[in-house]
Symmetry: none
């Protein structure tokens, strides 16, 4: 080992500054910083819990929680009786570039157009309040939009927006798809997830998409966060014959 444990700690302790975040989160952040900067290499051993306790002046349970969560996240590897080690970096990436249907259509060299079916400003239901982490009396926007590729409907977008974070959402130009840029401006997305499934469209959805009743659709439910606050949820519905998802992983 080229570096002594004590020298590893010196710099670590500097990283835990005063901040509103919980202590365990700051400990995690400090450790991640060491790893991301390359200072702590893969497979290298990190200081033991008791060493961190002494160096950082926090309780062992707090250090333990930080290390345990980082282990759950695959950042660290722990072995009882032995120690804690930096895990090998895992290959990540897939399907993440699918953010904006308008850009995708433009990339294919086709014409994009959007049609606003309905937008209402209302109070969040219990379910929406839980999803968006707002109180039930907070206001939200609920919008329904149809996207066209060369005048052929390709996607229905049902979107719920946290009105506290994006108060002027309804004032944007929906035809030109300004809504996406607006959301990115007021609450830039730092995290997101999507759920993909195959469903049958309702009669009204068939009408909007101009498809037969027996055509299966790809449904994407997406939630995007900005600094731990849920900004918006969306349900995207596309005919199986006109829309596919592509993903690539590994390699270069």
């Amino acid at each position: 080992m080229t570096e002594t444990t004590s020298s590893m700690m010196n710099k670590l302790s500097q990283s835990i500054e005063d901040s509103p975040a919980p202590i365990y989160a700051r400990v995690k952040q400090a450790i991640c910083l060491k790893i991301n900067s390359g200072e702590w290499q893969a497979n290298q051993r990190v200081p033991s819990e008791s060493e961190m306790v002494k160096a950082l002046g926090v309780s062992r349970m707090t250090v333990n929680r930080a290390l345990r969560e980082l282990t759950d996240e695959g950042i660290l590897i722990r072995q009882q009786g032995v120690g804690t080690f930096v895990a090998k970096k895992k290959t990540h990436s897939a399907l993440s570039e699918i953010h904006n249907i308008a850009d995708e259509i433009a990339q294919r060299g086709n014409q994009h157009r959007a049609e606003l079916i309905e937008i209402i400003r209302t109070n969040a239901s219990m379910e929406e309040a839980i999803n968006l982490s707002v109180r039930t009396n907070h206001t939200i926007f609920r919008a329904t939009i149809v996207h066209f590729e060369n005048d052929l409907p390709i996607q229905i977008e049902e979107r719920v927006v946290n009105a506290t974070l994006a108060p002027d959402y309804d004032k944007q130009d929906f035809q030109q798809n300004e809504t996406y840029d607006y959301l990115m401006k007021v609450a830039p997305m730092t995290e997101g997830e999507h759920l993909v499934e195959a469903v049958m469209p309702s009669a009204n959805e068939c009408r909007l998409l101009q498809i037969q009743a027996n055509e299966p659709c790809l449904q994407i439910k997406r939630r995007t966060w900005c600094d731990d606050q849920l900004v918006t949820t969306a349900r995207l519905l596309s005919p199986g014959s006109r829309f596919q998802l592509f993903g690539h992983f590994g390699g270069k």
Copy 2:
């Protein structure tokens, strides 16, 4: 609410039996059991920490850890000052990771079983030869497998394997899903891509999946490489009602 909190607890406390597993893990298991059995429905409120403490005779920190981990796993949703609720079910599978349906099913605590419908060793067709980068007179395996989750069919796997790279593919135990481990051993995947779409199943596929003719399916076509050589292609077909894909991007 149709059920009193105390009656929810009676049955919960019975579930934490003596076992070598840690207490927090048994608490998690007991809660998952309630949810999986349908006894605790989605969006329904679950007993508070202090109620569980009284009912189960464990400390609050132990209950807290169980609830916190289930929240991290997306099983529960917690809101400070309000309570803990059952999240909507996620039978999802990770979109960004290498796909192994057996592991995913095991991770959900369910039983996996596979049934080999057919496997043939033949020469590659023109299309397969192109896809797999072999000559048309090279041999391939073509297998059809049905995967079951708790004896319910969840996926049809149509796989084409490059026999030059994986000569003993047909000698593996398909019921135990040794095939995945075998492929990873002889030709560890370094790169892959998938195409996701919604399709209608054929009559024969409906029979194998035990679904109605009008049920949409999620189809994943996947190709995986090992050092620029295409090892295998797969077409995975799952009923939309039983299978979802999950993806996460950004964040930590």
